[in-house]
Symmetry: C2
Subunit: 279 residues, 2 copies
């Protein structure tokens, strides 16, 4: 049996009891690479680190003997957060290997802890690291569409792990750059720049520097977009939420995490929002 087991979002004890039992008795246990924050000691056994490259090019080795033995692939969050894992499942099925999934929390549902109702989230977007020459802002349009419908937007922030420079890639050298994780500060800076560009081109931006934004790591902070460029949220991984219109209960919850009083007086409540909020 091939097991895909979610590890949740916190520390090693966020694995489920079911997941831990399987890990302890399995023949081999792989751990998705950028999760090396976890200690092997907790699970009381050897873990084989598997980076994306290994999963994509050595899947046969990874799945070896899974017809007869229990092989585990550990994934931070829930196993179906990334396409790579779908691919692993399809490869297993192709080899007549049975598979089971042990679910866990992922940012896609844990973001609910900031108090915004999951049912009011529209499409999730990804904010990627800008370079000098590549500054995509297509995620802005998606946030805009969500906000027009009053929906919140979860923004997943870029992770660059095992990236090669173009030079090394062309030389075929497997030399990798140090991992980079986008912080809420960086994401907010890019959003502020987009907002300013829209304004300069005569467009009314869907949100402004004064819009309340939620940020989520181990700690939750609600602040304006501008404040979010400098808020200290500690180490990675971060994510960001651009709220749509908010129910009073949602506002009450966000207030718990407010960076300053300023936040709630500055939220641009349009008449449409006011009707919705019964204000």
């Amino acid at each position: 049996m091939f097991y895909l087991i979610g590890l949740g979002l916190g520390d090693a004890t966020d694995i489920t009891v079911k997941g831990l039992e399987i890990v302890k008795r399995a023949k081999r246990v792989y751990l998705e690479a950028y999760t090396s924050i976890l200690t092997e000691e907790y699970y009381g056994r050897e873990l084989i680190l598997a980076d994306r490259d290994m999963v994509e090019t050595q899947a046969d080795e990874l799945l070896m003997d899974a017809e007869n033995e229990d092989i585990v692939f550990l994934v931070v969050g829930d196993p179906f957060g990334a396409t790579t894992h779908t691919d692993l499942v399809l490869r297993a099925v192709d080899k007549d290997i049975k598979y089971k999934v042990v679910h866990n929390a992922s940012i896609m549902n844990a973001v609910g802890c900031c108090g915004l109702q999951l049912y009011h989230f529209g499409e999730t977007v990804s904010i990627v690291f800008w370079t000098e020459s590549w500054r995509p802002d297509s995620f802005y349009d998606k946030i805009k569409v969500n906000r027009e419908k009053g929906m919140h937007t979860l923004c997943l922030l870029d992770i660059k792990v095992k990236e090669q420079t173009i030079e090394n890639m062309m030389k075929g050298k497997k030399i990798f750059e140090p991992p980079r994780y986008m912080s809420v500060n960086q994401a907010a800076e890019q959003l502020v720049e987009i907002v300013q560009n829209k304004r300069q081109s005569g467009e009314t931006p869907s949100f402004t520097e004064e819009t309340v934004i939620g940020a989520d790591t181990q700690q939750i902070v609600a602040a304006t977009l501008q404040e979010m460029t400098s808020v200290d949220l500690g180490g990675p991984l971060h994510s960001l939420v651009v709220p749509g219109h908010m129910h009073p209960l949602e506002m009450d919850m966000l207030r718990l995490f407010a960076n300053s009083q300023h936040v709630y007086t500055s939220y641009e409540i349009t008449s449409k929002h006011r009707d919705h909020l019964n204000m």
Copy 2:
């Protein structure tokens, strides 16, 4: 400390190791009512059943001593699936009680196991039980908007627990009807009726009886909407997915759960979808 602990979606062993440790040492442990499927034995201690009525009217009692003792509230799925729990958090904070959340899988992220990418889901909808006189179909419009953008829609199916008849409610009698959980068959029947109504009024429905639909319980089935009215998926809880356009990898995954070959030949691939799918 007041703990909100998610139980995940499967059986008692889907609690996290962290959650179980807290449950074992806590002073009182409440269990959200319609989760009585769980056995007390597993957690090795008494659980107090808390229905919605109790949470809403006896929150003070529930939170009693939580300043000094550990009190746990167990929730199926993830704690932030329902507004009731947000309300509990706000009440706790109001009493200067600290709280912590132990996340777990919920249908909002576990739906990924059907192979459709979570990032391609639009707004989630709820399909409610129709009565003779009340047949709301506003969820159809939300599915339509999602499909126009090529997004998938997760449809949560109605749960009626501790419902009173209007007669008993008016008499002030706390007599409750037996619990009802909407099955995928019932949901599909309502959707088929809506599709037929749209057609009769001259509108081209956003999807038809032949559209591929995913259904999700412990087992996953992909079938046409029409087939879904009679597919046997076992007991509750069920949910339903109306896909938007699908990536080839998503189609490969759905094929694993196909009810019949028919499913994939009948999916109406428009030119827009074809471009997207590189077909």
